[in-house]
Point group: D2
């Protein structure tokens, strides 16, 4: 059954594989009249991977976006917007054994059972982090739509392994995140986080981390109770980012240990607007935005591809064997995950704005 689409009104369908011809995306439901250039999308794709600092792996050639449809004379037309990136720097020989000898922590084993020998697991196939290209492309379009309503989506690396960033504000995130390869807004922690990653790398290991996000200036009432509540749709979207293992909104797991009198956000007036004194709800009440910033965190596991030899099972010979994972490895996925978390946030928000009637069918300057 159809399962490769995110969103109902701003529906993002992705296709492609890591080592196939391309990674692509079709956005169905994009309003017409959005001023956008291929280079606007390229800018977001280009910043997907930090190219300095040596903390993540990167293909040699930069990913070049091509818009296939849906933009005409500099504006979206309202027809499906399709775009893709051709795969170029492919080294498939590294993955020949995957079908038979599933790598620990990877999708190989269930994929093999589910799709038979027909599945393309080269480079991680559909489960590669490279699939996030589709999210980033769609997110770039969505972000443009949000900008027209003054909504801003921010994220940064708040933890790498045992190194935790200090408290930062929106200005820090806006200003600092993309200035360092870790993509943390707490510049005092760049060095320690980098060391954490490089240390793991040296040991043939990997390390996890956490991305923190905030959405500024959301409208009130975004989100459709009960089942398409905004927090529910956000949680779903975050869990589609490869490696995500946990999601918190607002006070999150901390709420579990707290009292109502501590955790409730009292309302007050601020220049005639209804705001809350605190924001432990993370900007979401009953599945709908309160108008306060939407805040939360997404936890990412350490990448499963490590240089250390690991035990697995040979599915053909039905015996236990050892496997050493070859290919390019990311010692930490978190820096790459930052723009992806932003992207899916943008997608979900625009989807709900259209559903709520808060984004018009035809955008005009």
């Amino acid at each position: 059954m159809s399962s490769n689409t995110l969103g109902k009104a701003f529906a993002v369908t992705c296709f492609g594989e890591s080592h196939g011809r391309c990674v692509g995306v079709v956005i169905d439901g994009c309003p017409s009249g959005l001023k956008i250039k291929e280079s606007d999308i390229q800018a977001e794709v280009s910043r997907r991977i930090p190219r300095n600092g040596n903390v993540v792996s990167a293909r040699v050639e930069e990913d070049k976006v091509e818009v296939l449809s849906g933009i005409y004379s500099g504006y979206t037309t309202g027809a499906p917007l399709a775009a893709l990136v051709w795969n170029k720097d492919i080294r498939s020989e590294n993955y020949a054994d995957l079908i038979d000898r599933p790598r620990p922590g990877h999708a190989d084993y269930p994929a093999h059972i589910k799709y038979g020998n027909f599945i393309d697991l080269r480079g991680g196939g559909r489960w590669s982090g490279r699939m996030t290209l589709a999210m980033v492309i769609a997110g770039a379009v969505a972000r443009k739509i949000l900008a027209k309503s003054g909504i801003e989506v921010l994220a940064h690396t708040s933890q790498v392994g045992k190194v935790v960033a200090g408290k930062v504000g929106p200005d820090d995130i806006r200003k600092n995140t993309y200035t360092n390869p870790i993509r943390t807004a707490d510049l005092t922690k760049v060095e320690a986080m980098t060391a954490e990653i490089l240390q793991a790398k040296r040991e043939g290991d990997s390390v996890g981390g956490i991305v923190e996000f905030t959405v500024l200036n959301p409208p009130v009432g975004l989100g459709e109770p009960i089942y398409d509540a905004l927090d529910a749709d956000l949680a779903k979207a975050f869990f589609t980012v490869p490696g995500a293992k946990g999601v918190e909104l607002g006070s999150g797991f901390g709420a579990g240990a707290s009292r109502g009198s501590e955790n409730n956000d009292e309302f007050r007036l601020q220049e005639g607007r209804v705001v809350t004194e605190t924001n432990r709800s993370g900007g979401i009440l009953g599945g709908m935005t309160s108008g306060m910033p939407i805040t939360g965190r997404v936890a990412f596991k350490p990448p499963s591809s490590i240089a250390k030899p690991q035990r697995t099972v040979d599915l053909t010979e039905i015996k236990e064997v050892e496997v050493t994972v070859k290919g390019r490895h990311d010692p930490c996925i978190v820096p790459k995950a930052v723009p992806v978390v932003e992207a899916v946030l943008c997608i979900v928000l625009v989807d709900h704005m259209i559903r709520s009637g808060m984004a018009p069918r035809v955008l005009r300057e």
Copy 2:
């Protein structure tokens, strides 16, 4: 837009309000041939609320399920299965001011903005915990379907406020959860958890907590990458349970602080079956089940209705006021949340079993 349906193949649509005539549900996509009685569903509804121990609020009259369609001569027919519970013990006078003076932590304010004065907020309306009746009814049907494949869904209260349960196994959960009003499988913590709740209650306050779940004997390959990954759909479902603020699968947020060599689960053979030595993935790899138990945790905030006076804004007079929330209050939602977490787990699993072709259209003995 349509938003009150959970699932695509086993599609659960809920209707009703807390103080309206009823709470109901329609299940579209239920296979035919499932042997089920109204009393099977009633049994799950009846255990929704712990009636002893005084740790949660309860309506006086027990909720009585009525099946409206889709069951004939003791078996599901394959047509939509509709069922409802009539609302009886209603005290609506407590909620007259809600529209004007939104309660901190509740959906009142965004609901007012989104739906205008037309929304029915009596008793929490669509945002009441009572809406979980629909989930529990559908979950009861889903659980019966899972049972035919030997799949078992378990949950229990693993934390209340600062009191954390010790490590428990599936046998403990199966045996202990519903024997105590806290619904914890760690019987050594029942007293401390009860004290935590009653203390908060005495202080006119409330307290949060955590529900832990495990699914035994899942098939391999359940879940549809990329966007309808099983973990993504589970996370979405958990966030639709009122009060949820965080979701973890497997090692969850802990994975953020760990190394790949610690977090990966190595494969091995166990009586010819492929299993993993550990289960930090929570039974999900690449959005698909690995065959290992599906495990995770859902954090719930302390209930927003507290007896203490709180500040809010009168939306008509546009001024800051104080509000004291009347009505029945739950000092802790977690014991009630345990069967609801189980219910949405069952729904999501059956939805994916049908989508994967692992549950047939016609079930036969």
Copy 3:
């Protein structure tokens, strides 16, 4: 898989069976603020079946609508609107043999194969014309929404067997349709059409016919190309009305024999509005409304239940047998189909108005 829902934004899910407890419907996506009373819906349900003239069968007791949710203090709330009609005048003994000996022209045989012996075929089960109650209830709500935009939906019986109505205008349909049991707007044909039906009835037979419809004052641009084109969604909806075998929009099958110069509608100005000189397109261009009336026809087969003995196969004994269909028979379904055609028209139009952003989330006086 989920299949009992019509519409995406105004999503109508029906449940119930002909001889089960009830026939019901849930509307998800109804805007809040629509002024509506249970009696408004009852009025449409009450006129579903012509009670005079003896041309159709009717249960003795009138169908009484009960609204279960979604209306509060006289207005829709924006939450799912559920309503049902309890089944009362049931004579199930007539249908005992259906599973074994499928009636010609009925769903019995494929239903048996698809759902096993579990399906409830009493009174036609899910395939009964009685299921149109759900459509009529939802249509009554939808019609109210259309009325706020000045859109009017009309239909009438334009053919019964060999008797064809003359050309009629909207005024004739509005004024005449519900004054006669045939529901034709051409009052000069009531007698001949009635005779056609009663003659068939006397002979233990049945007769088919055609319903013609027109929608006045539609907005321009309703319909979502390519696959959710308005004509495509209308055709789908019409074919869900039991007994439908053909659908035409505008010039329909006649267009197949015509020339472009005859069939095209030239544009002109009328009091500053763009209109077309003719309306062979049936008000739909490229799947979108042109602003001209939406017109077309739906053909209905003669009811399959006839008193004459017919040949069938006993599915248990695997032998050819004769079957005589018992129970209440409609010698002609067309008079009953008129309000149902109107109802599904209303549903599809409102669905597309919401999708196009032409109907707001909150309706205000």
Copy 4:
């Protein structure tokens, strides 16, 4: 809102415009393990347009299919199958005025109102017959899946203007359709139909027609009552083919003039299989297949682009003007529509086979 997808389980999303870079399609839900080559798809695309006989227009260069994803080592992988055709032979200067001066019978006017000036109407944009490339590509994949179950989909031109084909059987359609540019199975009518088209062309006019289809060897029980009935989904799909104005299943509009005793199909046994003596139902009972051939007809209007001058309105200057449509014109769309009707039939059938559990997730030889 998302609207460019056909099907739920075999979900076909199309993108592209007539004079944009390409026309493409993504199939989500294609089972893995289907043996298929790019050339298999190319074969269907290549026969889309009859290149002899001069009865339709054609771009000079043949459309070349490129598969972008979802096929690996000669088999489908189960991941989204994306494919496209690049647009090459484009003459856009012919369409400069479209936005201002809508052509009679075309989508120009409502598209302008719906999408603003942003819509790309060059060459008909999204409303071009060229969009059927996406249907044909997806249909080629679907046909391969049907073939594995022995299901065969056939269609042919049964009417052009006033010239009506005689009665033909499946063998005639299989053998004759693609041997002549009219694509009629009645070879005795090729000359007269050709004359009808060329006569219209000479007069600067166009002519309509009818496509007849039949599906051999369908399984019993395909189709999901009530709203996703097979006939409903087929009717929807046929109306998405540009120019369709009418759809009949089985006896169709003729049923409206008939008696039940004439129109019912009596059951009998044939070599142990349950069949019907006649097939006026068109192989569909209660929205489900009966196992008999699925038969029906789709009426197409004469193409709206004619050389004759026509009246329209200049939308900028708000005055009545005359327009002469330039560009390549098809004097008759019907020969091109034949493979498209087959394609959407294949798509809908496979969608329902997957939904019914009649097509497995993994196809094996």
